[in-house]
């Protein structure tokens, strides 16, 4: 119990610090005092615009998308009993990307707020295919899941590239979308997606108890009175809602959902009623932290958070694979 409280306290402090950093630090240097006055609406107009219209929305998006991806990752790992499950590895990103390319080339959609729905649909479809191809009774084997993800990725990447080659304008928009970022995404997008985020978060928190039962095996879960089939379907629905919405809002962001639950379980143990909320709180820390890193390492330019996440996450992924014999969770 004390371990969990310490963890909670630690995560709370970290969250506060990263939010402050995300508002105070950027590729354009503003002294902290000026940031505070800009927050209040006084100070030089440039600072006010930078802080209130760029950094705050960016931070809010990071918080929400991070929470969604962290939850989705934790859910996926439990659902598939697979320590390597992650939206990115599932091929969700390429699904969303295919949706966006189709929106641009075939339907002539030009604004990001417009292609949100296509990204969303693509993400949902890819999740279902990868899960369907890899799932067997009682969970999926880590390698099969990764393979199904790769297969979906290859097939979709082929389609994406074909469409981009045929349409120069699409390539120009896609190459910026495909590296996930939380900067300069329109606030309108976030509002449109808010109901999906809310539904996904609520659904997953409600499911925590049943997921605990499911972790004991299907038979035991049934004996404990948890609806096995219903829990699986609802959890998968929550995952698709969360990943779809996050990817639609930010573009592809891999590995957050993979790393965060691993760190969280060190504090909480396997109880989903703790793992899920903790993941939801820790993931924004990771996302915003990576975003802040991306803002400062390449000054005066910025490195998109998607790239920072991929590099850090890839290293962590390989470390996990190397550290233990990957077995069913």
């Amino acid at each position: 119990m004390t371990r969990r409280l310490t963890g909670l306290l630690l995560i709370g402090v970290l969250l506060l610090v990263t939010v402050l950093l995300s508002i105070a630090v950027g590729s354009r240097t503003i002294p902290f005092g000026d940031v505070v006055s800009a927050l209040g609406g006084t100070g030089s107009p440039d600072d006010v615009v930078t802080v209130r219209e760029m950094r705050i929305p960016r931070t809010v998006l990071g918080l929400i998308a991070g929470a969604a991806l962290g939850l989705a990752g934790a859910l996926m790992q439990t659902l598939t009993r697979n320590p390597l499950a992650d939206p990115g590895i599932f091929g969700v990103n390429h699904g969303a990307a295919a949706g966006v390319v189709l929106a641009i080339t075939v339907f002539g959609v030009t604004s990001p707020a417009g292609y949100v729905w296509f990204a969303f649909a693509g993400a949902v479809l890819a999740t279902l295919i990868a899960y369907g191809a890899s799932a067997g009774r009682g969970g999926t084997n880590p390698a099969r899941l990764a393979l199904a993800g790769i297969a979906v990725q290859f097939a979709l990447a082929g389609v994406n590239q074909a469409l981009q080659l045929a349409d120069r304008g699409a390539l120009d928009q896609m190459r910026y979308w495909i590296v996930g970022s939380i900067a300069n995404r329109e606030t309108e997008t976030l509002w449109r997606l808010a109901p999906f985020f809310a539904a996904g978060i609520l659904l997953s928190l409600v499911l925590a108890r049943n997921l605990n039962a499911l972790a004991l095996g299907d038979d035991t879960a049934r004996a404990l009175g948890a609806g096995v089939g219903a829990t699986r379907v609802l959890a998968l629905a929550a995952v698709t809602l969360l990943c779809g919405a996050a990817t639609a809002a930010c573009g592809p962001l891999a590995f957050i959902g993979l790393m965060v639950p691993h760190i969280v379980r060190a504090f909480t143990g396997p109880d989903q009623r703790w793992v899920l909320p903790f993941s939801m709180l820790l993931a924004p820390v990771v996302l915003l932290g990576a975003d802040v890193i991306g803002r400062v390492v390449a000054r005066p330019a910025e490195l998109q958070v998607g790239i920072v996440m991929d590099v850090i996450g890839g290293i962590v992924f390989i470390a996990i694979v190397r550290a233990r014999r990957v077995v069913h969770l």
Partner: protein
């Protein structure tokens, strides 16, 4: 070498015949149809100038690059799958292809990319990735899923790098980089053909020298040692040779995905023969590439790069493989 099993011989010959038929078909078909007789005279060197140009300059080099690069990929995939004792040990799965793409894209963007620069970049990128993966996986992990998982991790990182490079490029450069990255056979000329042909002519016989020893190695290191096989050399030489084959193929045709994975699978199913099946895999690889390129050129009203066809079919193939495997395990 009198131990060539009859079934493997028949399968390989049948594939080769199919390849010839397909080749003849490819050379005659197109916006400017050339009758078969003219194709033959054009190759021999005494045809109407128009047919001479269409066949000798446009269609034949493209076809030959497809055949040779495909054969190289198939043979290399067979070697890798045999030596790693892993049906998924192919350059696509372990991030080799993505690494080569990173090198190629970097070369296109940094050096304003002539063909030579791109090829060297791709080969260097692929080699570095292969070495990194071998280091990370370690000697023991080669046979297991660890290889695939480490490869997945590396590919993801490299894909991010590729994406980043594209955002940094001018639009025209980005377009060329994407076009190359897909795996493309259009506009190949005779220099491409010679490069792949020379590599294949040197490295394929080298691999064949080790063919018997590789079959024995599949029985396990200890058994192979007892049978008098030098384990280390039997690993290293064919692996290096197949990396060379893949690098040459990627350099000349771009990273055509999945041929190196699928060709050995199909070959093994058809010959039903244990061992690396290098030659059947090479012929299958050539056939797959030629058929895919034909489909890419003629299936739709627009011409597609061959890599898109192999990528889509490869993805579908892998998904169905997983589903079939699951079914058979349940039963």
């Amino acid at each position: 070498m009198n131990a060539v099993p009859p079934r493997a011989f028949v399968v390989t010959t049948a594939m080769a015949v199919a390849l010839l038929v397909m080749a003849a078909f490819t050379l005659t078909t197109g916006d400017f149809p050339v009758p078969l007789a003219d194709v033959i005279t054009a190759i021999v060197g005494d045809a109407p100038p128009a047919a001479e140009f269409v066949v000798g300059t446009l269609r034949l080099p493209r076809l030959l690059v497809a055949v040779l690069a495909g054969a190289g990929l198939g043979a290399a995939g067979a070697v890798m799958q045999s030596l790693s004792r892993n049906p998924l040990g192919s350059p696509d799965m372990i991030g080799f292809t993505t690494g080569a793409a990173t090198g190629g894209i970097a070369a296109i963007l940094l050096t304003a990319g002539g063909t030579l620069g791109t090829s060297l970049g791709a080969a260097a990128g692929g080699l570095c990735t292969a070495l990194l993966i071998l280091l990370l996986v370690g000697r023991r992990g080669l046979g297991g899923y660890r290889l695939v998982l480490v490869g997945v991790g590396i590919s993801t990182v490299l894909m991010a790098v590729n994406g980043y490079l594209l955002t940094r490029a001018a639009l025209g450069d980005a377009q060329r980089a994407v076009a190359w990255q897909v795996g493309n056979l259009s506009g190949r000329d005779w220099t491409h053909v010679t490069t792949v042909a020379v590599t294949l002519a040197v490295l394929l016989p080298l691999i064949m020298l080790f063919h018997r020893r590789m079959s024995m190695l599949e029985l396990g290191d200890d058994t192979a040692t007892a049978l008098g096989v030098g384990v280390l050399a039997t690993r290293i030489v064919p692996i290096l040779a197949s990396i060379g084959l893949i690098a040459a193929g990627i350099a000349m045709a771009g990273p055509i995905p999945f041929v190196a994975l699928a060709a050995p699978h199909l070959a093994r199913r058809l010959t039903r023969h244990p061992g690396p099946n290098v030659l059947p895999a090479a012929v299958t690889g050539a056939l797959l590439t030629v058929v895919s390129d034909f489909a890419a050129q003629h299936a739709l009203s627009v011409q597609l790069p061959v890599g898109i066809v192999t990528s889509v079919f490869g993805g579908v193939y892998l998904v169905s493989l997983l589903i079939v495997q699951r079914r058979s395990r349940r039963a």
